[in-house]
Symmetry: C2
Subunit: 428 residues, 2 copies
């Protein structure tokens, strides 16, 4: 864990070093390109062979699809309290995403031209769900629910079952989110199947969901053939807290981020050195008691930081430089400080809003832009599953009013047929 | 030009062949990666050297930036009629894009939790404008105006001036669109400069605008470091027209698309064989009289098509399969037929709305998804220059209501610190 202060000489360079890319760069592009080529050439047979190799599971054409019976059994195997929590989370996520749905635009302007913009859902979406250690039922809800609210009629989910192990809560989450088309396949081969289709898996229009380096590279390679969501890096949180906060709470908020991944990053910015000390001490003490203490300890040791600022305006300025995925603002006037934030994926205001609430149940999406990409990117939303069609309908009068300018510009650009397609209609 | 009919045996395969990828696939990734590496290492010196090599122009550090004097002279050199047309187009594009601006979301739910979503502009955007034959002032308006309406405070434009030739109308369009930061540099080196910055060009957050294969590959390679718009393929139009339309108008609409590029594609779908013949005859006749007859002729010959359908429901079904960039619906009831369209970039309704009106002056954007990507992608809009930050603010009561479910889910996912960061706040 590094401690920085804005009064340090060399603070800017130290902050830049802290934020240097944490993603482990392994080049898997050749291996992934080969997998995609095999799936395109051999279809389901490639999926079966690659699943045997990578997931040590003897997939067959009939077990590729996880049927309703198996899903029903998984749902029944989930303890009632977990089912109830999943349902409450799903309901809240549905409410928030329904509130996001945009309205169509249509108006007639002063020339009589009718203009508009119509939103419509994608036909088919693929959701990738990791197996193994990163199998998060909450992510199934966060990916599938916005697609369903947007009106996507076909949602196909791929989830690997390494060594044949299925996570019942993942299937229960899919069931609650209304996903019925689920395939037992993962990795780059799953992405290839979703993008190009096989005999048993029809192709989709967009693929979303987190995954390892192979999945990320496969999404990058099929981009253009289908849409993809952004390639997520390691997760991160920035907590801005003043001395009036409970240091034990803040320590747990930072550790909640650190326990995700050794490459995760948790940063505290505070204007009080004593508070910084108190948080650091709690973290050192609590770390040992966590179920994932090794992961959280490595993250905090290698990427954690406490930044001491002179005042909260410095804090918000640094936050804008970081453009964090998650930002907790625990200050006397969180609304005031939030108004100064230009770049953040999701913001959690006040002492009663730990970031973990947003991971599960607040309602906003937990799939968010990482590594400073909140400068230009946004979290997952219904917009990821909608597209816009603009339209125009002129009558003879409106064309007579605005057409001549189009002719002038088309001629200036040397596009004679453009000009004549308008001019011929002005002659009548 | 191919003529197909839905009654043909093998129609589906013939349509698929017609739509096969028209993009010329030249692999420039190594060359582009080398250019990007040079710009990152050498900065403006690399821009100067590469501009001498590729654009045959002796750029210097002082002529890199196109100053206000030069822009003013260019504006003055543009004929008044063109300036007026540009102004009318800009005003209409501004109106349409202002109408798109989304509203923030904020509500308090039944637990007392306050939730919301806030839109904000990107800080800095780069606009790439091709030089040479594809230098379109209209594209400057279409790229820059949505950024300015979205509230982007810094818009940096790069435009090459091959052999020192500047297009005054391009500079006039930039001026009208409010762009004041313009650099005389193009190609992959311009994209690299915008993404990574040099001494004289500060980096941006997102790069938009059309370009050749080098520019497209450079955008692909810097994606992640910055946001990019979609990689555009050759342009295309689909016209659905019945026998009541004027075949001369339809012929010019198809040729307007064909004259863009040898790889452009113009397709007519009609339910009347005689109308199809009349359009084909007009095209053959008019082609010879066009300023760009060689280009339009090659496009129509190699990629043009007339598809005869039994009825308009077949026409809209084929349109959905094509997912065209531009769609003209010239039928007795365009609104009825438009309601059946699920995938199209921009739609032009009725006999008085040629697609060329949308290229210049209707108001909707002319930067649109090509090659069937309208299945999942949308035209350029203010959304390309905005991002969303979601937020949540709970009080003790709302946390007490929904917190326990978050604890249950965090424990089920094995994330102990997540669970404890919520649970500790429930103890008080």
């Amino acid at each position: 864990m590094r401690r920085l202060a804005t009064t340090d000489p060399g603070f800017d360079a130290a902050l830049a070093a802290l934020l240097a890319d944490r993603a482990t760069a392994i080049d898997v592009s050749e291996a992934v390109a080969a997998i995609i080529a095999r799936v395109r050439a051999e279809g389901d047979a490639a999926l079966i062979d690659l699943t045997a190799r990578f997931d040590r599971f003897p997939l067959t054409e009939t077990t590729l699809h996880i049927g309703a019976t198996e899903i029903g059994a998984a749902v029944a195997a989930v303890p009632a309290a977990q089912r109830a929590a999943l349902d409450r989370a799903a309901t809240r996520i549905e409410t928030f995403h329904r509130a996001q749905m945009p309205a169509d635009l249509a108006f007639t302007d002063e020339t009589g031209a009718r203009l508009g913009l119509r939103w419509g859902p994608l036909d088919a979406v693929g959701i990738y769900v990791p197996g193994g250690k990163a199998a998060y039922p909450s992510s199934v809800l966060m990916n599938a629910i916005p697609a369903r609210i947007a009106g996507v009629s076909r949602i196909a989910m791929c989830v690997p079952t390494p060594d044949g192990v299925t996570n019942p809560l993942v299937l229960a989450a899919a069931h609650r989110a209304g996903v019925t088309e689920i395939y037992r396949v993962g990795g780059a081969q799953a992405v290839a199947a979703l993008a190009y289709g096989t005999a048993r898996i029809a192709p989709v229009d967009r693929i979303v969901g987190p995954g390892n380096a192979y999945v990320a590279e496969a999404k990058r390679l099929v981009f253009g053939r289908v849409g993809i969501d952004s390639i997520a890096g390691p997760s991160e949180v920035l907590v801005i807290a003043d001395a009036a906060q409970n240091p034990d709470h803040v320590a747990l908020d930072l550790l909640a981020q650190a326990e995700h991944d050794e490459a995760a990053q948790a940063i505290l910015i505070t204007d009080d050195a004593g508070f910084a000390d108190a948080v650091a001490e709690t973290i050192a003490r609590v770390l040992k008691t966590l179920p994932r203490s090794a992961v959280a300890g490595a993250s905090w040791r290698d990427h954690g930081a406490i930044v001491l600022v002179r005042n909260l305006d410095e804090a918000t300025a640094i936050a804008n430089r970081i453009a964090p995925e998650h930002l907790q603002i625990m200050t006397a006037d969180p609304a005031r400080d939030f108004a100064r934030i230009r770049h953040a994926g999701a913001v959690f205001l006040g002492r009663h809003t730990p970031e973990a609430i947003g991971d599960y149940i607040a309602g906003p999406n937990h799939v968010l832009p990482t590594s400073g990409t909140a400068r230009f990117a946004s979290g997952l939303s219904v917009y990821d599953f909608l597209k816009r069609t603009t339209w125009a309908e002129l009558d003879a009068a409106s064309l007579a009013t605005i057409g001549p300018s189009a002719v002038t510009l088309a001629e200036a650009e040397g596009l004679g047929a453009h000009a004549r397609s308008v001019a011929i209609r002005l002659e009548a």
